[in-house]
């Protein structure tokens, strides 16, 4: 578990009683988390300008997407006089570490939790947090069911996939599409995986064939996006969202069907791996890779032509807004509300592509880079 406390509290010594209770409550939890709990519990008495305790619980810290959330949340916490505690799972799907972090937030007396959940197993702990009066904000992905969180701050992942798909269909200009679908996992259902995959197919004008599963679309038929044309789905392969996984998946897809000309990649690392595979096969010029993320490095790949387009998301914005909302709410402000017509607060998505295409709203990579994350 990665834990840090952005604001070391100076009031620790004054609150020995609370500390004693905190220590007893924290028995069984990690020492590091308890160490910071005593300090921020002082904020529970604050109604006005005092320090507000907020926990940011991320999926992992192995991904620059979540690292960017941590960074922007810390910056916002400093502005809002928030005592921020950051925790993260050890790997995607690590719910136990997240549950421990939620329990720590409750015993610490935090005012709210920002969480990118690793799965449904954290739901019960989040309910406990809500009952204890904490405001729960889901970041990046809504929990299942969405009502587990008070509100979700997210990118519309389906919309991000859709923008890529619409661009892909328009760029094909009526030519047949042979599509490789490079997904995230094959062993667990994660909404971001389904939403991006389905969004891409919908954007191309292909019915995903299921609301809850990948790979249920008709394997060939007609796409209706752009000028429309015939399509074949050559493969669905898991990549684990990593470069080596993306490469192996793409190599196997190419062996199965050497005519692939469109690649959907769940994220930039998977797209990067796909590019490496295509380059090794001497096919990088004839295949268009569509990625989602919008990191600064990924946008450079759009400029260089490695990616045909990249749907941009704003993880840092989600985290910063989340910190700000809880700080305001704790000081008597009103609850945040969802974006009109959606079940969550949409922090937006945009499509970055080097070549603008008629009828589509596209940002140039340099425009998009003004709000990019990572390095």
């Amino acid at each position: 578990m990665n834990i840090s406390s952005s604001q070391a509290s100076s009031r620790r010594s004054r609150r020995t009683g609370v500390a004693a209770i905190g220590v007893s409550v924290c028995l069984g939890a990690t020492l590091a988390a308890c160490g910071s709990s005593n300090g921020s519990s002082s904020s529970s008495a604050s109604g006005g300008g005092g320090k507000v305790g907020v926990s940011l619980i991320l999926k992992t810290l192995t991904n620059p997407y979540f690292v960017s959330m941590e960074k922007d949340a810390k910056t916002q916490a400093a502005k809002d006089n928030v005592s921020l505690t950051v925790a993260a799972g050890n790997s995607d799907g690590d719910t136990q570490t997240q549950i421990t972090a939620i329990d720590n937030a409750i015993s610490r007396g935090d005012k709210g939790i920002l969480i990118t959940t690793n799965g449904d197993a954290v739901n019960a702990a989040l309910n406990r947090a809500k009952q204890a009066g904490l405001f729960v904000i889901a970041l990046d992905t809504a929990p299942n069911p969405a009502s587990i969180a008070n509100i979700t701050y997210a990118t519309d992942n389906e919309q991000a996939g859709k923008l890529d798909g619409q661009y892909a269909a328009a760029a094909l200009n009526g030519k047949p599409a042979v599509i490789a679908m490079l997904d995230l996992f094959n062993n667990q259902v994660v909404s971001v995986d389904i939403n991006r995959d389905h969004g891409f197919l919908e954007g191309m004008g292909i019915d995903p064939g299921s609301k809850t599963e990948n790979g249920k679309e008709a394997k060939s038929g007609k796409y209706t996006g752009g000028k429309g044309g015939s399509y074949t789905v050559a493969c669905h392969q898991p990549t684990q969202g990593a470069i080596d996984g993306g490469r192996t998946a793409m190599e196997n897809c190419l062996s199965a069907n050497p005519d692939i000309n469109v690649v959907y990649a769940i994220n930039e690392p998977a797209g990067e791996g796909a590019y490496n595979a295509l380059k090794a096969a001497g096919k990088e010029k004839n295949v268009a890779i569509y990625a989602i993320d919008g990191s600064c490095a990924g946008l450079k790949n759009v400029t260089s032509g490695e990616f045909a387009a990249d749907a941009v998301q704003y993880p840092g914005k989600m985290a910063a807004l989340g910190v700000d909302s809880i700080a305001k709410l704790a000081r008597g402000g009103s609850k945040p509300s969802v974006t009109g017509g959606k079940s969550f607060y949409d922090t937006g998505t945009a499509l970055a592509a080097a070549k603008p295409l008629g009828g589509l709203t596209v940002q140039s990579p340099s425009q998009a880079a003004s709000a990019c994350w990572g390095n």
Binding site: T62, F66, N252, S255, A256, N276
Partner: protein, 344 residues
């Protein structure tokens, strides 16, 4: 296997036992016992034949080239894992050390502008040093290898994440670190330099295990540590050397990984620990030490990749790849148990 023994029966004379003709099962058993790489080799050939019949693209040399390329990273790690498992140890930190080394190499070149060769050397030094730490904890503090490497798995992963901040590092082609990705054509087979280095690694370590005193000592320690000690073998030195040879194999794996990834990525290679152990086990090396050969591990890694590739080509749901690997592991360990249990 249980045999019914009649207490009334007169024991057969020793010569009669020795001269009794062996049943076919006993003969097979005896051959398999002498050649630990044979049973995985049979599985590999059978799998290749079946997949070739199912899909005519499987046998294409282009596709077989890919399978060998895909196996180069895990194959290299499996050499190190084999040497450690032969001492009746196990290394859960092997993938974490590889990711650390690959990121260090990439970052030294990309951010600190070190020459590629020096960065490569630095990566190798760190990998060998990390494994020396594992070895010292096993030999000096007498901790079980499982516990030591479980701990260092977390330590090395954390160091990597702190060092890399979750970022990937892209390298320019032409750097020596990317040399492993360059393609070499052998007739119709398109291999990479990485594959050739991996094969060289197998040749060197395989030779050392079979023909040097170090190799024989390693088997002796793995088979019966007390007997080895009584025979005058410096057990601790052999164990420490096994981990450090493992570190060298990890460095080779890290170099090949950098070529495949095109730089450093903290998320790539995270599953390598278990994949390397899987390759070793399927390859016929006993988890109880003292029995096995590195060639078996290469075959084991190839079997896994042939299944993954073959099932993907056949358009079968990726979940079945995972299922197949699980069945292979159980089958391999069962065969190992059978070979050990029956008298040879």
């Amino acid at each position: 296997m249980t045999t019914h023994v009649d207490p009334q029966a007169t024991p057969a004379p020793a010569e009669e036992l020795l001269n009794r003709p062996a049943t076919p099962a006993q003969r097979i058993h005896s051959v398999l016992h002498r050649q630990p790489a044979l049973s995985p080799a049979i599985v590999l050939v059978l799998a290749a034949v079946v997949f070739s019949l199912v899909n005519d693209r499987f046998y294409a040399l282009q596709n077989l080239s890919l399978v060998i390329q895909q196996v180069a990273v895990i194959g290299s790690l499996a050499v190190g894992q084999t040497v450690i498992i032969l001492t009746a140890g196990i290394d859960l930190s092997i993938g974490a050390v590889m990711v650390l080394a690959s990121l260090l190499m990439s970052k030294l070149v990309a951010d600190n502008h070190w020459p590629g060769g020096v960065a490569l050397l630095a990566g190798a030094v760190v990998a060998i040093a990390a494994q020396a730490l594992n070895g010292l904890l096993v030999t000096k503090i007498k901790l079980p290898p499982f516990i030591v490497t479980l701990g260092t798995l977390s330590i090395f992963t954390a160091i990597t994440l702190i060092y890399a901040k979750g970022q990937t590092i892209a390298l320019q082609p032409g750097n020596i670190l990317m040399w492993t990705a360059n393609t070499v054509s052998l007739g119709q087979l398109n291999l990479t330099n990485g594959v050739l280095i991996m094969i060289a690694l197998y040749a060197v370590i395989g030779y050392a295990l079979r023909y040097t005193a170090w190799g024989r000592h390693l088997y002796a320690v793995g088979d019966d540590v007390e007997a080895a000690r009584l025979a005058g073998i410096s057990v601790n030195r052999v164990l420490l050397s096994a981990y450090m040879v493992g570190g060298f194999a990890i460095a080779v794996g890290a170099w090949i990984l950098v070529g495949r990834v095109g730089g450093g990525d903290p998320n790539s290679g995270l599953n390598a620990n278990l994949q390397s152990i899987t390759a070793v086990v399927i390859g016929g090396t006993s988890l109880f030490g003292g029995r096995g050969v590195v060639l078996g591990s290469l075959i084991g890694a190839l079997i896994v990749q042939v299944f993954v590739n073959g099932l993907a080509l056949a358009g079968i749901d990726p979940n079945y790849q995972v299922l197949a690997v699980g069945i292979l592991v159980i089958a391999a360990v069962s065969v190992d148990q059978w070979i050990r249990s029956v008298k040879s």
